[in-house]
Assembly symmetry: C2
Homo-oligomer: 595 residues x 2
């Protein structure tokens, strides 16, 4: 292989020099719009993760800049994301630290460093495809479940009612219900009004009048996407003046300034304890990032390289650890906004990062009177679209097993434990697949009269022959279905005393493993003990290559490998061995027996 | 379903009344031969499990009687088996008890009771097929590894050198090597001579002269199979007279008598701790039993019911727990002997059990001077055939992944831990299967000129068309290969700017899950964004039934489902859309492009 150019590893060297006027303008605008969304969301997500709000802004500075260097997606918006923030809070709840404390922050930074290591290692080992073992239903159930937990976690901010931290979701909801009389009107009013405004701003029909007024779609989008910032600023202004009238918890002083890169993350001492959580954060973050990057790449006939994405996301998380913030990923919603706002390259991401840095440097005093309830509303509005009931219906309708995997993951995540729920869904979906390939469709076939087509004898009127069993297995043969194959043949043999030949039709067999090979050898030998010859038909080329070197053809004795079922019938149907069984007078295929 | 007759659950009601003279004689002889083998083996296996020798005889009394009632195999010999004995010793080494102590025995009984519960539960839930997930290479590696450990475990008896109990196999061998100067001649002489005699007695060439002398084969077999008993009795006689001359550890007093059924097994208090080991003992024992039962059943066109075997083996283990002995299973070697000796029904097993009971009652004083080294030789001779190097070669030659799974299991069992080794092999074989189905064979096909056959364009000279991509996936589509499918299509689309149609040929697709469905929908929509129409061809009936209810056909827009690749080419090849791409002048398939 020729050495790859440097631009293979640093795609920025490819796209940056080719940037031109119109594209620069598009990227600039998209970067601004995304930043307006990211500033309030970043602070809110930091709170969700149990961290000071400014840490959420940090997560929007260096990590996207690093991604811009290494990433293969032009439009993925990397930064703080809701599921990672939830997983950070969940992982650290198991340690001795308290939310908001220095140890808690240290734990979040350790998680970012671990995620960086895991992703870089997976990238170097080219293990990107491991993520494929998370099936869509499991991912959907996980995301919906995480969204529900996030919403529940925001209820204390919204209601002023403290909930037990380590309790299950149901216990927390029960507690909330019992404490309802103590509802605090301040946060409730701010929170509910903000939530309603945010949800309304997203509804397309409400934006249509603007379009009719001649406002260009991009400007409409701008108005829609800046809603979180507008709501946040408006609520802050109101709270600043009315705080004595309507008391509500506010953000308070945020230390302004940029993060100073430091190796402080090396000081963490819960590495091993946090490793499983970091693994889940990395893989889920990676899957989310690559999924949205793929969708966006398709729209412009671009390509995303899964293994280089691992490197890019690993480097971004290293940037997060270096600047003292929580793990990052490519967020679904913010990337879509970035794309729809016209982003053409990672230049948009760079603009976003610079604007967020500017906010961290200059504008934090603005948020002094920002009610926490409003930030809770920002998070809730962001995750509500993640709850996907349609996916459950569609999966269940298509295949109950898929629907069940989704439901088990969702309920496991919500009611038991986030990581256990994910593991249960993963095991269930892999188990279902193995179970099904272990119980393949097997059909006894016969010939459609007057043709060379062979069909299932239970579904079609076909010719069959008492001394001949044509069995088609609709699956590759491997260890989990060898016993099934043996049982099917044994049952048929026991049913048919006149049987002389068994032909296994392998048209749907893409692969045979050594367990299956041994089973076929054993089967051929066992059938020979009963004076039955075992044949194969329609064996695919690569499978035949394998079988040629093995002992199967020898074990088959007089058995042959026929190119087609028709050939098998022509050869065997017209030449039944007269000495095979009691009924010796049948020497031609008798279609009459099976009208 | 009509209610099943009582004989379905108690097969003895079916076969016993139909027993006739010749069969009774055959069963009687087979029962005697098997008992002659079982008595010394049972005592030796008890010692292997760290139990008093008499307990091994107990395992050959009630359990086979219970199996005779419930078992569906006519000739399976149930009783103490080497792998279960090893697993018992291994499991109890983790507890505080010492081998030979009352607590140790209690632990073995607890394991039998747990195995009974597990097997009965699996039988009631009809989970017999779970055992299918142990592939042949993994089982082979496990059995070979267990045999090696058993042999190493017998070296102290053979050499008189005590080995550290909890150390790994390599450490033990190293220790043995260091202590070689302390070799004890007594056990070594008895052990080596006994081992050589036992191995020679098994060699067929040595038995031929007997046949030439006119001795019937069954008598020869009898002579061969009684070798262990002869060796044991001979060695005992010699030791009784020469013990002062050549000191050697002997069995000593064995309390004679039959086991008294008791519920003492309920007194065990390590239930939870021993559960994982009991699970492995049950499943391995079940797999071994059913494997040999199947092989024997085939030879006489009989059937074995895997789920009723679970019940029968569970009941046998309940019998073991009730009579205060270790877990039992159907042994491979002893069942083969039983079969070859002419057993026709479980009557042979009943005869064996009665003879073993007689031995326990009357003959234990005979074994007072039996050297332990000779029992060690009996065990070693019994397990040597289990070390299957040929299986490794055959598996590796057929498929390196199968060979690797066997090797990993073997080395894991021998060097690390019996149960961890088994788990590693299981994970590796399942992982390999998932990995392969996740990376299926995918071929771009074209038409063999002048025919309606379509073949891989990389292997054959075929007609292709620049505006048409015919892609065949040789695997069912499911979550682990959806990303692969998408990447293959994306790469081809990026390579071919003139592309207007993608046809996915599904002739080898036996199943589509919801993840794959969503990927196909997404693919169709993404392709549509690039003005490419997505089609399907050769979709199997059951798959098509599924797709009809889904949103895929809608997402495909103008895309069609063709019955055959030929139909796709006829329809699409002669009607390229003129407005699709830059090159508008190609309006017929151009075979000339690909000579």
């Amino acid at each position: 292989m020729p050495p790859k150019p440097l631009s293979h590893w640093l795609p920025i060297l490819d796209w940056l020099p080719r940037s031109r006027g119109a594209q620069l303008r598009d990227d600039l605008l998209a970067g601004v719009i995304t930043a307006l969304l990211l500033v309030p969301q970043g602070m809110a997500l930091a709170l969700l993760a149990g961290l000071p709000p400014i840490v959420g802004l940090y997560a929007g500075i260096l990590p996207p800049l690093v991604y811009a260097l290494f990433g293969t997606s032009r439009t993925l918006a990397v930064g703080p994301v809701s599921v990672a923030a939830l997983l950070v809070a969940n992982a650290l709840a198991g340690t001795a630290a308290d939310p908001g404390s220095a140890e808690w922050l240290q734990g979040a930074i350790t998680l970012a460093a671990l995620s960086a290591g895991i992703l870089l290692l997976m990238g170097l080992l080219r293990l990107g495809e491991l993520a494929n073992f998370l099936s869509h239903p499991v991912l959907s159930g996980f995301t919906s479940g995480a969204a529900v937990i996030i919403i529940v976690s925001q209820l204390p901010q919204l209601t002023g009612i403290a909930l037990p931290r380590d309790a299950g979701t149901l216990t927390q909801l029960g507690h909330l219900f019992m404490e309802l009389p103590r509802l605090d009107p301040g946060p409730l009013i701010y929170g509910v009004v903000a939530l309603l405004l945010l949800l309304m701003a997203r509804k397309a029909p409400l934006l249509k009048p603007l379009a009719r007024l001649g406002i260009p779609p991009r400007a409409t989008l701008l108005a829609s996407r800046t809603a979180p910032l507008m709501v946040v600023l408006g609520a802050t202004a109101i709270a600043a003046f009315t705080l004595p009238l309507l008391p509500v918890a506010v953000v308070g002083d945020i230390p302004a300034g940029l993060p100073v890169p430091s190796l402080q993350f090396l000081a963490g001492d819960h590495w091993l304890e946090l490793l499983p959580a970091a693994l889940v954060i990395s893989i889920i973050g990676y899957v989310e990032s690559v999924s949205v990057a793929r969708v966006l790449a398709w729209r412009r006939r671009e390509r995303v390289d899964p293994n280089r994405e691992l490197i890019a996301l690993g480097a971004s998380n290293a940037g997060a650890a270096l600047t003292g913030t929580m793990p990052v990923a490519g967020g679904f919603a913010r990337s879509m906004v970035n794309f729809e706002a016209g982003a053409r390259s990672q230049l948009a991401g760079i603009v976003t990062a610079l604007l967020v840095a500017l906010s961290a440097l200059l504008f934090t005093p603005v948020f002094r009177y920002l009610p926490l309830a409003v930030l809770a509303a920002v998070i809730i509005a962001a995750v509500i679209p993640l709850i996907d009931v349609k996916a459950l219906k569609a999966a269940w309708r298509f295949d109950h097993a898929d629907g069940l995997a989704l439901m088990v993951t969702f309920l496991g995540v919500v009611l038991v434990d986030i990581e256990l729920g994910l593991a249960a869904g993963l095991l269930l979906s892999v188990g279902t697949f193995l179970w099904r390939t272990g119980h393949p469709h097997a059909a006894v076939v016969g010939r459609v009269p007057g043709t060379e087509h062979f069909r299932n004898e239970e579904r079609h009127h076909v010719e069959t022959w008492p001394h001949l069993l044509l069995l088609r297995m609709d699956e590759s043969l491997y260890f989990a279905n060898t016993a099934f194959l043996e049982q099917v043949v044994a049952r048929r043999v026991a049913e048919r005393p006149e049987l002389q030949h068994v032909v296994l039709i392998c048209s749907a067999v893409n692969r045979i493993d050594h367990s299956a090979l041994e089973t076929l050898e054993q089967l051929a030998e066992n059938l020979a003990l009963s004076n039955i010859v075992f044949h194969l038909a329609e064996v695919k080329g690569p499978v035949m290559d394998r079988l040629r070197g093995s002992g199967l053809l020898e074990a088959m004795g007089d058995g042959r490998v026929f190119l087609s079922s028709e050939e098998a019938v022509e050869y065997l149907g017209t030449h039944p061995r007269p000495n095979g069984n009691e009924q010796e007078n049948q020497d031609s295929p008798s279609a009459e027996n099976h009208p």
